[in-house]
């Protein structure tokens, strides 16, 4: 049987964080919250969303022996005047980002454009390395991402985050 995997999101102060398991969505907005309501917490034009700090969490390996090669991308276009940045990168990955309180200031972690199609190789690490793997339950490095807008940004685009990994039986 295949491994059981969920996407988790960490929120709150780094001194007392909360980890929400198996999030239902990755709504981006003006609040540091999992499963946030984008109507109640919209991004003002010219502002950034709060960073998202998310993990791919293998809760059970099933009969698999190894999980590796995590690739993250977005499908669907943002509106004009908005960009989506991340720490994920196939070529310039900077290692494991240690959790700290999410901010809507310009993220020092989310600095690369979020891929809009599946990357050719891993862009999110395990244990700090793109070549890392999990052989028992555990989590990837944090995926940090943020939407940044200009004053000309308009309301409302909906896209999908995708996560892919290789699983060895």
């Amino acid at each position: 049987m295949a491994a059981t995997v969920e996407i988790d999101e960490e929120n709150g102060k780094d001194s007392s964080p909360a980890l929400t398991h198996n999030i239902g969505n990755s709504n981006m907005g003006s609040a540091d919250a999992a499963n946030l309501n984008p109507i109640a917490s919209p991004i003002a034009p010219g502002a950034n969303s709060f960073e998202k700090w998310q993990l791919l969490h293998v809760v059970d390996m099933g009969t698999s022996s190894k999980i590796e090669n995590i690739r993250v991308w977005r499908s669907g276009s943002l509106g004009a005047n908005a960009i989506h940045l991340t720490n994920a990168s196939i070529s310039d990955y900077r290692g494991e980002a240690k959790y700290r309180t999410p901010t809507d200031d310009t993220s020092p972690y989310a600095i690369f454009p979020m891929p809009t199609s599946i990357p050719g190789s891993a862009n999110l690490g395990i244990g700090g390395s793109l070549a890392g793997s999990l052989t028992k339950s555990g989590s990837s490095d944090f995926l940090v991402h943020q939407i940044q807008t200009t004053e000309a940004a308009l309301a409302g685009s909906t896209t999908v985050m995708n996560y892919s990994y290789d699983e060895t039986a």
Partner: protein
């Protein structure tokens, strides 16, 4: 390590003091325990069929921005 983390189920919103407690709860929203392979959610069933390259799709990265003249 990161011992102070509070754990929350993203499906039923219940809070837990440990990851193990989360993993053991029978979730009223999903109808399964998080690592219970006997009663997979439909999404996970789809994933298990794909085997090698499983897409764990997190539904919406929704981007909502205020109408700037609103």
């Amino acid at each position: 390590m990161r011992t102070k983390v509070k754990h929350i189920c993203g499906q039923c919103e219940e809070s837990f003091s440990s990851e193990l407690a989360y993993l053991k709860h029978l979730c009223p929203a999903s109808g399964r325990t998080p690592r219970n392979l006997e009663t997979l959610s439909p999404k996970t069933k789809v994933a298990s069929v794909l085997e090698k390259k499983i897409l764990a799709a997190v539904q919406m990265a929704r981007v909502a921005k205020k109408q700037y003249n609103a």
